[in-house]
Structures are given as C-alpha cells and as structure tokens.
Amino acid sequence: MDLKEFIKTATLTQLGGGLKSKAFSSSELTSAYLERAKSMNDKTNAFITIDEEAAFASAKNADELISKGRAKPLTGIPVSVKDNICTKNLKTTCASKMLEDFDPVYDATAVSRLKKQGAVIIGKTNMDEFAMGGSSGTSYFGAVKNPYDLTRVSGGSSGGSAAAVAASMCAAALGSDTGGSVRQPASFCGITGLKPTYGTVSRYGLIAFASSFDQIGTMAKSAEDCGILLNAIAGKDDLDSTCRTAPFKNCLKDIEKGVKRLKIGLPKEFFGDSISGDVKSAVFKAAKTYEKMGAEIIEVSLPDLKYAIAAYYLISSAEAASNLSRYDGIKYGHRSKKGKSYEDIIKNSRREGFGNEVKRRIMLGNYALSSGYYEAYYKRAVKIRKKLKAELDEIFKTCDFILTPTAPTTAYKIGSFDKNPVKMYSSDICTVTANIAGLPALSTPCGYDKNGLPIGMSLMGKALSEATLIRAASAFESQFEKREAGL
C-alpha cells in the first residue's frame, strides 16, 4: 500500500481499519503525516509547532494498544490541535506574542480525552491571534495560506486546523468556534467543520475568548469523521460548570438514514445582497439535491438577523476584554523590559504583546461595559441575544434544520480586510447566530467557484441535534464530487 497516497483521502474509519489489519503501524502512519506536515508547512504556515518526538512516543504506545486489541476509533491516528487549546508541556501560544513561550501545566479536557484514546497529537495549529478574526491573518506567526490557493486566506480563526486537514497534514483536527471560527475556515478550505451545541465539549483548557460563545469544534474531511472526533471529546466534565451534565448521545446514530421526510428550512435573510452569486447558487443547488433525496424544503424567516452581528460583537468583545485582562506579563507571558512600576509594566507588556485586532476588541468590549454605556450597549445586546434565540427555537419547531451559506464569499486574497476590520466583521453574518443561540452547526463543501475555490454550506439545528446534521451532511457527501486541494 502506498501510504503517502492513501493518507491524501483516507477517512478515520479507513485509517482505523488499516491499523487494525496491520496494513500499517501507527508509527508508519505518523511518519507519513509528519512528512507532509513538515514539507508543506513553509507553504501553508498551518502549524505553529510540530512535535515529532512526542508524536512518535504516542504512536509507539498506540501500536501497543492496537496489538493488544484495545484500539478505540482514534487510537494511533495523527491529529492536530488548535494553538489556543492547552497541551501540557507543549507550547500553547494563541498565535500571540503575549504567549509566545507559554508552556501549560495541564492538558485541556478535550486533549486529555484524545490522549486517553491513544490519538497521536502531531502539533499545534496556527490561528488568528486569541481566536479573534476570520482570516488567520492576524497571527503573530504570519498568516495561514489556503491549500487551494496559497495567495488566499484559509479563513479563521481555526485556519491552521482547516489547512492542515485540507492538505492532509493530519487526519483530523480540533478547532474552536466563537462566531464561526470552525465552520468558516472549513468552508474556505473545502473540508467539514462542526461546532457542537454550547456546553457539549468542556471549555476547561480552551484559552477563553468569549466565554458564553466559545466551543471546541471538530474538523475533518467528512461529517462522519467530525462525529467520530466529537464522540471522543464530548460529554460531562466536572471541571467546567457550563458543561452539560447529561451524557452525550452518540452523534453517529442513524448516520445512514438519509434525509427522507426531513424538513429543511431556508431562511430568506441569509441569502441577501451581501452573499455572492456563486455561493447562493451552490447552496440553492444543494437544496434542490436534498429535495431529490426526499427532503422537504420550506421557507423560514429570522427577521432579527440584521442585529446579530452587532449583538455578537458587543457581548463577545466585552467578555474578551475581561478574559484577556489577566495577561499582564507579571505571572506568565510576555513581560516588557520597559518600566518599573506595576502600571508601566502591565501597560507596556500588553502594548507589546497584543496585536491590533486584539487591542481593537478589548477597547470595544471595555467601551460596551463602561459606566454610562452598559445599558445602551451590553445590556441591549443581551436582550437581542435572547430574542434571536427565541426566534430560532420557533423556527426549529417547523423544520429539522436550516440550510444557509457558511460565508458570503469564497476565500479572499490575503490582506483584503486589513484596512477595514468592520467589513470583515460583517462577513460573519451566516455563522454568528449558532454561537448567539448556543446551537449546533456544521459546514460541509457544496461547490466550487469559477476560480476553483471551495464553497461551504451550513446546516444548523436545535440543541443537541448533531446526529441529524451529521446524517444530512453525510447524505449530501455521498453524491458530491469533492475536489482535493492538490498540494
């Protein structure tokens, strides 16, 4: 078997099967992925850290488990982890100068669950600084490049994870999604990205951006693979009190069932003028395909969608401003050499350690919370949030999930939004509602534009409906002609 070719398209199930039948060992598999990761990182800049030594050590342990017949779905399989998720003794930087050399003393719960299954973590992926952005261009370590076109962004903030999966530098990856950061890069990079229901995956060890929006998501080449990864990390965690306590139900249940008799809502507000023609037609075409498969398409409406961006940016920035206050250079992280007094040290450390987008969000957040503005901005945004959530709950009484574009466009050229951050914010319009309402959403490829760039469509459902979304995405995949990045 040509392992190098095999890994370009292999699913997690196929990899697991190959390990079990001893077609290859985990060490060989890890070697193959590491070779691609190392050789392509210059081009894509997908990884901030590649940890060969630890990877091979894990692979060796995995091979032992496999030979004893104790393999689990992820045993021995090389995966990567976004660099805002704590990995013990492995540098976790959030793509920021502030945490350039930060070495966590503990593993995030999601990471320890992967390790418990014997997964092989090959490295930490690049991202927008502190997960703030939609391009992975704000990284202190340089932008991530889209494997489909290296002059274009990979999307963000989990762009490194998306690119790594798209270029087969790893079999699957963990990302984080606060306003679309798993789904949008998945869409730009032609892979599948799943953001689960809020409270499904523990946030312990996920370096906080916006506490009431953040969720760890899974990224892979298929919906099933996203589900396999989610099953491994989801479920009650005593270390996070915002994590749901009921056991997580297998999200691969009924994956074969298809979409017959499912009701799919198309919310008209998601198909407005800001969405490009290519994207709209691809998603409408997908809707038609679902109809042919036996689903019923109905029109629904979310009239308050126009307030979603404002509400999202006000609340998430407020939480972010507070969450990032701890970075002062005193306890850990970048400490400025300038200044002796406490005030000077923290001011200079933060000025030097944070990039512009992070600073922007902190200022915006503090403004929204400041005395005199709290009522007008933060509190009002919270009201809109409640209203949007209620409207979505109503919509899901009439359909099983809604179908929308993931992003208004395909991947744009690197640097496009540098002078216009607010324009970049508005391109989150299709993804933020899932985070606002804490609902699950999945992006899967549904087409390519005239430049061959991937177009993604989003399926969003009611709370804990991951199995429905995976099943519907899987049904679409089975007839969709996917094009690899070709790197």
Partner: protein
C-alpha cells in the same frame, strides 16, 4: 456648630469552608507563600472557576443569623480592575443579585439595618520588600470565600460602629460561619463616614476608610476622620469623596485615590458560573440546623437568673458559654456555676492567657467542685485552691480534696481545742474584741483557720470563737 457622624459599614468575613470558593485549594490561613494555589485561583489561561456550594450554605447561615431575607436566586458578576493581588484582573462577586438582603442586627435597643450580604472571592496578599524596592505577590489567599455585609448608614458614632462590628463577629462565630479573628484578617471592616450638622437630615459627602482590622482602629479612625471632616467644613472647604487608608501607627487617614481616579469596574454577569438556586426547603433545612444565636442565648441565661453583666460576659466568649452550659448539666445551679466561672476561672484564664478552648479543667469537674463548695464538703478557700490545681494540672476535685486533706471537718472538739489555745495566746486581741473592735475578730478567725488547715470549717470556727469570746 455641632456635627453628627453618619456611618455605614462594609464588613468582609472569611467563610469557614475547607476549600476556596472557586477551586479545591485549601482555604487555611498562613504558611509558605504560593503553595495553596492552582491554575484556577492563580488565573492561568484556560482555567475555569467551580463554585464551592458549601460557601452558599454558610452565606445562608450568615443571612439567617443577621435576620435577612434569603434569595432563592442569586448569581455572580465580574468586577474588573487591575491590581497585582488579583491574578485574573477581575474579582468574582455578586453585584446585581446578592444571596441575602434586608436584614438587621440590634446593638442594645438600636436596630442597625443590613442592606445585603453577598459572596465574593478574596484577593491575594502583597508583601513590600523595602530594601529591594519590590513588591511580591502571594496568591494563597486568592479565592478564599468571603461574605460582604453591607449596612445602611444607620450608625451614628464610633462606639456604635465598634459595638455593631463586635455583635456581627459574635453572631458569625455562633453561626459557625467565620472565626472572626480580626488580627488574622478573617474579619475586616471598611467604614463609610460623613458628617452633617446636628439635627439635619441631609447626609454630607462621605469618604471610605478601607481595611480596618481591629475594633480599636475602627474607633480611632472614625474619630480622626470626624475631626478631619469637621475641620474642613468649619474652614469653609468641602469634603472630597475619597478612598482612605488608616495608618494606625501615625493615627491619620491618607488618600488612596480620589474620585477622578475612581475605578470603573465594568460589572457584568459572570458567564462561567451558573446562578445559585436555593429552594425554600433548603433554607428551612439550614435554618433548623442553625446553632443558637448569642442574643437568644443571652435571654435564656437571664431567665436562669444570671445578671445582665454576667450573661453578656459569658456569651461574649462562645467557648466559655459552651463550657458553662456543659457544667450546668453536671450541677443545675446557674448562679453558683456562673459565679465560679466568672469570679475564679476567668481571672486565672486572663492571668495565664489561656483561652476557653484550651482549658485543662473539664466542665463536669467544675460542676462537682461547685456542688462540693455549696454542700459544705470543702470551704470556699479550699475550693479556690482546688480550682487552681485543676487549672494548672487538671485532675478531679474530690481526689484533690482528699489528697490535700481539704475535706471540711465537722469535728467541733478540734476547733474547741484550737480556740482555747489561740485565745489564750492572744490576750490583747481578746481585750480589743471585748472593748468593741469587730475588726480583730477577723484576725482571730485567720489564726484559727491557719491553725486548723485546709479542712477548717469556717462556720463552725466562727460559731465556737464567738461563743468563747462572748462568754
């Protein structure tokens, strides 16, 4: 012009939980720096708080002890500011929805209203190294649970402020909520003080004096600040709203920050912790398990016949009051037992600096001793000696009495013999007595008691001596 002080207090009390409020580190006091820390209380990236529900129970107990309404729903908020003793750069507190509201506590006959009690986390400690000109942060105290008790501005003098703080401390000790050791910092007081002309109803501008950690400094700081504000107003100036620090050594308040530099805390609901729900049933359950509060214990002691002063003295030290009640079980004579404790035991305790928790004497044995004295098994003098030995070395009263030959003798013949001898040896004294000096009787009694030893029975001695002198 005569001025009136108006005072409101914010009392911070450390809760007697084993662990900190948002992590499982030990909440104990003291020790090597930065050992009782973990990723949560030191604010490491990716860490999340976990609420210790034991803190809610203690807060409810505090609320019940202070006659508050307990809220079924309360929630946490973040108070954001930068300071080196605050690792997350925000303190988790309850700003919008406190756990208790609308309570009161009486000092004497005056009712002081309590606006709210809320739960929050303590900050760390800063140690200033003057030589190296650096400040060092110790996070051991970060995350220790506190309740903050906020009064209405009902207090009108330094004496009231001290009395109220002492009453709160006592109530919290009795409720098992806080050990109220001000010198260790487990109870701290911020004083909000303004002055207004006597008879006025319009409050003046207030200043806040932070972190007073003894009743004495509360009193001194209030008196100083009153004088300072009075001098300002009389000089035609205005009082500026400020946060002040009290320097106990120099006896002055100094400004920490002025209104212009006042923090904007940007309070918003804490997204990492779900709200606290307490049902009426749970409150009822906690209420039934509450220990007896000082004021009702005092009422009970008064009904037992103790004087107000004696009752107050006993309840002021819970361990001593507990000792008293345990002793009562052995000998149901409240006046006798309390008297022995207050007059004899307390004196020895104070002289030797021994606290009620550390007594060698057992309550049962004190009870037995009281009964022995009351029954006449030993004299009052002998009883004091027995008590001394029990205090110093422990032991049981009957054994000590027997061993020391202290059991009171009823043998009149020995007394007769001694009386004859002593009267014969002191003819001058006898003369003085017969010519009307009562004082000399005491001298003769003393001679008799010394001669007859510890088993001397003063009643018999007095009777026989009187008989012989008057014959």
């Amino acid at each position: 012009m005569s001025y009136q002080t108006v005072i409101g207090l914010e009392i911070h009390a450390e809760l007697l939980t084993n662990s900190k409020v948002f992590c499982s580190c030990s909440a104990e006091f003291g020790g090597e720096e930065n050992v009782r820390v973990c990723p949560r209380c030191s604010g490491l990236p990716g860490s999340l708080p976990l609420f210790n529900r034991g803190a809610a129970e203690l807060a409810v107990k505090a609320g019940l002890a202070l006659n508050c309404k307990i809220n079924n729903f309360s929630a946490f908020d973040r108070k954001n500011y930068f300071y080196p003793d605050l690792p997350k750069a925000y303190q988790i507190t309850q700003f919008y929805s406190p756990i208790c509201e609308d309570g009161y506590l009486n000092i004497g006959t005056k009712k002081i209203r309590i606006n709210r009690i809320h739960i929050e986390e303590d900050a760390g400690k800063l140690i200033h190294d003057e030589k190296r000109k650096i400040s060092l942060a110790d996070y051991n105290r970060c995350g220790v649970p506190l309740i903050e008790i906020v009064t209405e501005p009902d207090i009108r003098s330094a004496e009231e402020a001290k009395a109220f703080t002492a009453e709160v401390a006592l109530a919290l000790k009795y409720a098992g909520v806080c050990d109220a050791k001000m010198e260790q910092g487990s109870l701290r007081c911020d004083v909000n003080i303004s002055i207004m002309p006597e008879g006025s109803n319009t409050f003046g501008t207030r200043t806040e004096i932070k972190n007073l950690n003894s009743l004495r400094s509360i009193g001194r700081a209030i008196e100083y600040e009153f004088s300072r504000q009075k001098a300002l107003l009389e000089g035609g100036e205005r009082v500026i709203q400020q946060t002040l620090h009290w320097n106990d050594a120099s006896g002055v308040t100094t400004a920490l920050r002025s209104k212009e530099e006042a923090h904007d805390y940007r309070y918003f609901p804490e997204p990492d912790i779900p709200p606290i729900f307490i049902t009426d049933e749970e409150i009822e359950f906690i209420s039934r398990a509450m220990p007896e509060m000082p004021q009702s214990r005092k009422a009970r002691y008064l009904s037992l016949g103790l004087s107000d002063a004696d009752a107050s003295l006993l309840i002021g030290d819970k361990a001593l009051a507990d000792f008293f009640e345990a002793a009562l079980k052995g000998y149901q004579n409240p006046k006798s037992v309390s008297s022995m404790i207050i007059v004899e035991l307390l004196r020895r305790m104070n002289d030797a600096s021994v606290s009620a928790e550390d007594l060698k004497i057992k309550p049962d044995d004190l009870a037995v001793l009281c009964k022995m004295a009351d029954d006449g098994a030993v004299s009052r003098g002998a009883a004091k000696d027995i008590l001394k030995e029990m205090f110093d070395l422990g032991g049981r009263p009957m054994e000590i009495a027997e061993k020391g030959g202290m059991l009171m003798s009823n043998d009149s013949s020995a007394v007769e013999t001694a009386a004859n001898r002593i009267l014969a040896a002191n003819p001058k004294a006898v003369e003085e007595y017969k010519s009307g000096s009562a004082k000399v009787f005491g001298f003769l009694m003393g001679q008799m008691c010394r001669s007859l030893g510890k088993s001397a029975n003063p009643a018999i001695i007095k009777k026989i001596l009187e008989e012989k002198l008057n014959s």
